[in-house]
C-alpha cells in the first residue's frame, strides 16, 4: 500500500508547488504566497456561490411551485449544518494523518489552526502532513485557514447535491439528521482516502483532481439510494410535474458553471499554469457537453430544450472535475461530449427503464457523469501535466491507470451505497423520512416551513 507520493490522488490537495517553489523543502518554514492565497480565497467564494445560490436555484428551478422554497432551503440549511460539522469534526477526520482510512481528532474544533499565527498573521504556509515516515506531506503556499475553508465548501456542496434525489418529499428534520451523519460518516472518510497523503487511494495513485469520486460519484450514489429508499413522489408518472420556473434553473446552472472555476482551477491550490489549464479544460468540456446533450436531444426528441442544455453543462462540469488538472483541451472535448450524451441517456432513458424516481437526477447527472469522468481521466491523463519534482514522469493515461480509476470508483460506490442506506435507516427510526401523502400534495413550502411564494 505504501507507495511513493508521486502517484497521489491529490485532487484538491495537489502539491503543485513542490515544483514552483522547491526552496520550501530546503530551509525554513514554507512561505505564504499572496497571489496563491488571493486565488484560493477567491476560489472559496466561488465554490460557496455554487451551493448558495447556484445549486439552490438549479434545483428550485426544476420543482413545482409548492416546493420551491423548501428546495432552496435544503441547500441553504445544508450549507449551515455542514459548516458547523466541518468545523467541529469533519475537517479533522478528513485532513489529519490518522490512518489510511480516516483522520484523527487533532483538529477537532479546529484546535491548533491558529498556532502559526504571530502578530496577526500566519508565519508559514500549510503542510498537509502525511503522518507516515518517509512519505512527504503536501507543502502549500497558503495558510491552513484558507485550505480548511476551501475544503469546507466541497464538504458543503456534496450533500447539497444529494438533495436533488429526495426533493419534494423528505422531512426537514430528517434532512438535518441525515446530512449531519452523512457528512461525518461518508464524506469525511472518502475525502481522507483520496486527498490526505495517508489515504489509501492517494497512496495507490487513483487520480481525482477536484472531486469526481469524493464529490460527484459519492453524491450521485447516495442520491440513488435515497430515491430508492424514499420511494416515488406521489403522482409520479400521472401528475404534471413540469418545472414551475425553469429560468431559475438556468441562473443556477450558470452560477454553477462560473463557480466551478473555483472548484477545478482552485484545486490547483495556487494561481499558476496548472490552474490555468484546469480552467481552460473545464470551460471546454462543459461547452462540449452542453452541445452534446443539446444535439442528442434535438435529434432524438425533435427539439433542443433549455433544460437539456443546462443539464448537459452540469454533466460536463461533473465529468471534467476529476480530469481537470491532467488532460489537454482535445481530451476535454471528448470527455465533454461523452458526458453530455451518456448523461442524457441516463436521465431520459435509463431512469425510466429502471423505474426509480430521482427527482432532479442527482444520480443521472452526478453519479453517471462522475463515473464517466473518473474513468476517462485514466484514459486521457497527459503525463507532463501530472508530473512533479518528486515524480518527473507524471502519470499517463492507459490501461493501468484505468484499472486504478475503476478501483477508486467501485470502492466509493460500495462504501457510500452501504453507508447511505444505514444512515437513512437510522434517520427513519428517529424521525421518519417522508412527509405524509396529504402534506406532499399540499407542498413542502407551507407544510414544513409555513411559507409560500406568490
Amino acid at each position: 500500500m505504501k507507495r511513493l507520493p508521486w502517484g497521489w490522488g491529490l485532487g484538491a490537495a495537489l502539491p503543485a508547488l513542490l515544483l514552483a517553489m522547491p526552496a520550501f523543502a530546503e530551509d525554513g518554514p514554507p512561505k505564504l504566497d499572496s497571489g496563491d492565497t488571493a486565488w484560493m480565497l477567491t476560489s472559496t467564494a466561488l465554490v460557496l456561490l455554487m451551493t448558495i445560490p447556484g445549486l439552490a436555484l438549479f434545483y428550485a428551478g426544476m420543482v413545482r411551485k409548492k416546493n420551491i422554497l423548501a428546495t432552496m432551503m435544503q441547500s441553504f440549511a445544508i450549507c449551515a449544518i455542514v459548516t458547523i460539522v466541518w468545523c467541529v469534526i469533519g475537517y479533522s477526520l478528513a485532513f489529519t494523518p490518522g490512518n489510511a482510512y480516516i483522520g484523527d481528532f487533532s483538529r477537532v474544533m479546529l484546535s491548533g489552526i491558529a498556532d502559526h499565527i504571530v502578530k496577526g498573521n500566519d508565519t508559514q504556509a500549510f503542510v498537509l502532513e502525511s503522518g507516515i515516515k518517509d512519505v512527504a506531506g503536501v507543502t502549500m503556499t497558503i495558510p491552513e485557514t484558507v485550505y480548511m475553508m476551501f475544503q469546507m465548501t466541497f464538504a458543503i456542496i456534496t450533500p447539497a447535491l444529494i438533495a436533488g434525489a429526495f426533493a419534494d418529499r423528505m422531512k426537514f428534520s430528517a434532512l438535518c439528521i441525515f446530512i449531519t451523519l452523512w457528512s461525518i460518516c461518508v464524506y469525511a472518510p472518502i475525502a481522507h482516502w483520496v486527498w490526505a497523503p495517508s489515504g489509501w487511494a492517494f497512496q495507490l495513485g487513483v487520480l481525482d483532481f477536484a472531486g469526481g469520486t469524493v464529490v460527484h460519484i459519492n453524491a450521485g450514489i447516495a442520491g440513488l439510494i435515497c430515491a430508492l429508499v424514499l420511494g416515488k413522489r406521489v403522482g409520479y408518472g400521472t401528475d404534471n410535474m413540469a418545472p414551475f420556473n425553469l429560468s431559475y434553473a438556468v441562473i443556477g446552472a450558470s452560477l454553477l458553471w462560473v463557480g466551478w472555476f473555483g472548484f477545478n482551477a482552485g484545486s490547483a491550490v495556487a494561481a499558476n499554469g496548472r490552474a490555468g489549464m484546469a480552467m481552460a479544460v473545464t470551460q471546454i468540456a462543459t461547452a462540449a457537453a452542453t452541445l452534446g446533450w443539446l444535439f442528442a436531444e434535438w435529434i432524438t426528441k425533435g427539439k433542443p430544450s433549455v433544460l437539456g442544455a443546462i443539464s448537459g453543462a452540469v454533466a460536463g462540469l461533473v465529468a471534467i472535475t476529476p480530469a481537470s488538472g491532467y488532460v489537454l483541451p482535445g481530451s476535454a472535448i471528448i470527455i465533454g461530449v461523452a458526458a453530455g450524451v451518456i448523461c442524457f441517456w441516463a436521465a431520459t432513458s435509463l431512469k425510466h427503464m429502471l423505474g426509480y424516481d430521482d427527482s432532479l437526477d442527482a444520480f443521472g447527472v452526478h453519479g453517471i457523469g462522475g463515473i464517466v469522468g473518473a474513468l476517462l481521466t485514466g484514459v486521457f491523463a497527459f503525463a507532463p501535466l501530472s508530473a512533479t519534482d518528486a515524480s518527473p514522469d507524471g502519470t499517463a493515461g492507459g490501461l493501468d491507470q484505468l484499472k486504478l480509476q475503476a478501483i477508486g470508483v467501485c470502492v466509493t460506490i460500495v462504501y457510500t451505497g452501504v453507508m447511505t442506506l444505514i444512515l437513512l435507516m437510522i434517520t427513519k427510526l428517529v424521525v421518519g423520512l417522508r412527509v405524509n401523502e396529504e402534506e406532499e400534495r399540499e407542498g413542502l413550502d407551507i407544510v414544513l416551513h409555513g411559507e409560500q411564494i406568490f
Binding site: G235, T238, D239, N240, E438, R441, I446, V447, G450, E451, Q452
Partner: protein, 112 residues
C-alpha cells in the same frame, strides 16, 4: 344549455378532464382561483407577522353542455373530484341562453 361550474382541488383536474371526455365533452375552460370555506388553511409567519391563509388554491372548471348531458357531467365531475376530505369543492349549474363558436359562427349546441 347549462354552464356547469365546478370548484375542485387542483390535483384533481386531470382526473376530471379524463372523466368528461368519454361523455363527449369536447371543451372546457379552467381558472386558478382561491377558495374560502370550511377547509382551514395554514398560518404563515414572517418574522413574527402572522397571516392566516384563509384562501386555499382551487381550480374552477367551467363547461357548457347541452341540457341533456348536464346530469351525467355533474355526476362524472363529482365522482372524479371526490376524495371525501373537507375542501373537495362544489358544483354549480346555471342556464346558458346562447352559445357561439367564434371560428365558424355556429351557435348553441353545435357551438360546444
Amino acid at each position: 344549455m347549462k354552464l356547469i361550474m365546478a370548484i375542485i382541488k387542483p390535483f384533481k383536474l386531470d382526473d376530471v378532464r379524463e372523466a368528461l371526455t368519454p361523455l363527449g365533452v369536447q371543451g372546457l375552460t379552467v381558472s386558478e382561483v382561491k377558495g374560502f370555506g370550511r377547509q382551514k388553511g395554514q398560518t404563515e409567519i414572517y418574522r413574527g407577522a402572522e397571516y392566516h391563509v384563509s384562501f386555499l388554491p382551487k381550480i374552477k372548471i367551467e363547461v357548457v353542455v347541452p341540457d341533456d348531458l348536464a346530469d351525467q357531467v355533474i355526476e362524472a365531475i363529482a365522482k372524479a373530484a371526490h376524495t371525501g376530505k373537507i375542501g373537495d369543492g362544489k358544483i354549480f349549474v346555471m342556464d346558458i341562453e346562447r352559445a357561439m363558436r367564434i371560428r365558424t359562427g355556429e351557435v348553441d349546441a353545435s357551438a360546444l
